[in-house]
Symmetry: D2
Subunit: 211 residues, 4 copies
Amino acid sequence: MSETIRVLDKGYVEFVDLLGGDEAAVRAARISYMSKSDPKKDDNLIDLLMRLGHESPFEHIVFTFHIKAPIFVARQWMRHRMASVNERSGRFTEFDEEFYLPEEKRVGIPVDLMRESMERSFENYKKLISSGVKKEVARMILPLSIYTEWYWTINVRSMMNFLNQRADSHAQYEIQQYAVKIADFFKMKCPITYDSFLRNAYKGDLLRERL
Amino acid sequence: MSETIRVLDKGYVEFVDLLGGDEAAVRAARISYMSKSDPKKDDNLIDLLMRLGHESPFEHIVFTFHIKAPIFVARQWMRHRMASVNERSGRFTEFDEEFYLPEEKRVGIPVDLMRESMERSFENYKKLISSGVKKEVARMILPLSIYTEWYWTINVRSMMNFLNQRADSHAQYEIQQYAVKIADFFKMKCPITYDSFLRNAYKGDLLRERL
Amino acid sequence: MSETIRVLDKGYVEFVDLLGGDEAAVRAARISYMSKSDPKKDDNLIDLLMRLGHESPFEHIVFTFHIKAPIFVARQWMRHRMASVNERSGRFTEFDEEFYLPEEKRVGIPVDLMRESMERSFENYKKLISSGVKKEVARMILPLSIYTEWYWTINVRSMMNFLNQRADSHAQYEIQQYAVKIADFFKMKCPITYDSFLRNAYKGDLLRERL
Amino acid sequence: MSETIRVLDKGYVEFVDLLGGDEAAVRAARISYMSKSDPKKDDNLIDLLMRLGHESPFEHIVFTFHIKAPIFVARQWMRHRMASVNERSGRFTEFDEEFYLPEEKRVGIPVDLMRESMERSFENYKKLISSGVKKEVARMILPLSIYTEWYWTINVRSMMNFLNQRADSHAQYEIQQYAVKIADFFKMKCPITYDSFLRNAYKGDLLRERL
């Protein structure tokens, strides 16, 4: 499995780096009791933490991702405050003509009007830039579907909360697609914690169907 | 002075509520030394806290505001994580035709192209809605200049950080306008703390000119 | 009901101030839908938020308390990071001879040994101070039962988490006593939110018995 | 240099793990401008971030340490809320007879009285335990100098704030000793960031003398 997973028509989730892993949560939890790691019991310990809602040991596992997503998705994403973000600036860089165009089955009618509207907005953006208007002003007319990107560093406790809310059918379809990819990396890198999360603490529905 | 201040062409900052005030910071600071409030010395104490960077007592002063601003301003605003936000949803409400149109002197060229582009986008949004497209999908074509609104609860320590960064000429013009209005309410409600902040701890420039 | 409630043998919880109340959570929640407050429906709305785990609107209700408690309780208390604390300093103030002596039924044997041990430690502390030893050094010999005090500002979302963990029979007996008093003030000041919390979201057991 | 550094008479700072490093901060900062890393310019970029107070890119560097320190030091330490902590429990484990005894030159008078007082308290603790008193009750008589230990995960932005306050002559001597060891690991693992921090953003004094 590659370390970059495509999402939507032009976005992606790229795994960048990881602090700790299953064993870091176990180690942190065991200090309460000054007990030593025991491979036979570590899985049970993680289950116990999840069931009791003792989530602090999972803060010692920290992921960094590189995300590319439409701005309306980024807006929902940034509500998760317990994370670190550095994002491409629309003041200092010129946007590329990359906007998210939903599939017709998602929209319900032909997407031509949406495409034309976005293209027209982008043409106007380019005209303004050519006329010497500042990037930070010209971008005001760009649509919410334009792609942006950011680095995202988040610990697993906060990431589980993100998954509870975004890997769920009540979230908007587009951020759901990102959330399940985040979950894929979570599963790949911390298989014991992920499995226990799904069985004991996950409050959403999308990941459950993938069990 | 009204409790609502207009900002930009259609936005505002509305003061909603306040926890504590100058005296709450003094009270919290004095517990370190178990000393009693002394009106003659309280101003000096606040100056001392500001100069030494002892900012925790200012966390006991908390403001709630109601803000209306364009989405590109909201995006910059939400980077301040030490605050509480509930925002109007573009999934559950239909946007009004209210977008920010910068003044010509700010853009440098006639704003007709910007206005037309925004109006066209909004017309298309209405067409999509009329065709039965979901609000959460239709809004993808709306421009970043469309107005949104939110409640914002923030303590004064975090608010001072907001002012350091946003009430400063390096911030974008539009959020500067909001930041100085936030500062106006800060000054009105916590005059001693505000005055001391400006003299001892403020790192920006816009408020300094207003002294 | 007084605004100060005694806890343990020499401690207390004092209500100091409040930002918002039930209506502040309703107001913040309603902005998502741009709907107006409706007294007939507001209770149902709070129930809905609690059931769905939509806790952010409760961040707009913020309490300030003044707490006096033994240091071993303070240590458990400070683990709740989403709160603001200013505490009496053992470096800058001399401790009073106020330590918590548990009741005999709690200890299981006569408390004489505990009392004598604490008194002896305190005598030695006084001797060190008299000999010119710095307060910050002398206090190293003081027992964990010595009383300290602090201001505590916390929003209701974080306070509910505090109650889930501390107003529960798995917490230590002493902090339980404080937690139920915090709950008393919560109930008094935000009756609708408190009632809904208990019915829909509370994960502990002690408050349930008090329903 | 070993990955564990002794501190005070029985404590230590152990480096456990690291997410990112100098390059992670550069990478996060460069996304604003969508510019590529350039070894010749990366040092200058870090200097620029430090000088301007653009600290968010440093949140993508995260350390995990294992700390052993007296409880009065732990109490000061835990005030730094932007970090993750799991600590040995005095409810579930019995304390060892390990207390911090300051050196005579620090106390100013012979430390015999302090040693005797701590030993007496510990003897009484053991007696209570032997009599069947719960660990969580017996420990109430233990002195603040008793050693505890914890895992600590913290990003570099928050760690720099810790160093500003604790690697400074206004902090208590004992926590100063820990802070300079934390700084040693910071320097070893992120030499460019550490060097730039000291030259551009550090507000304390102890580390400056070590330049």
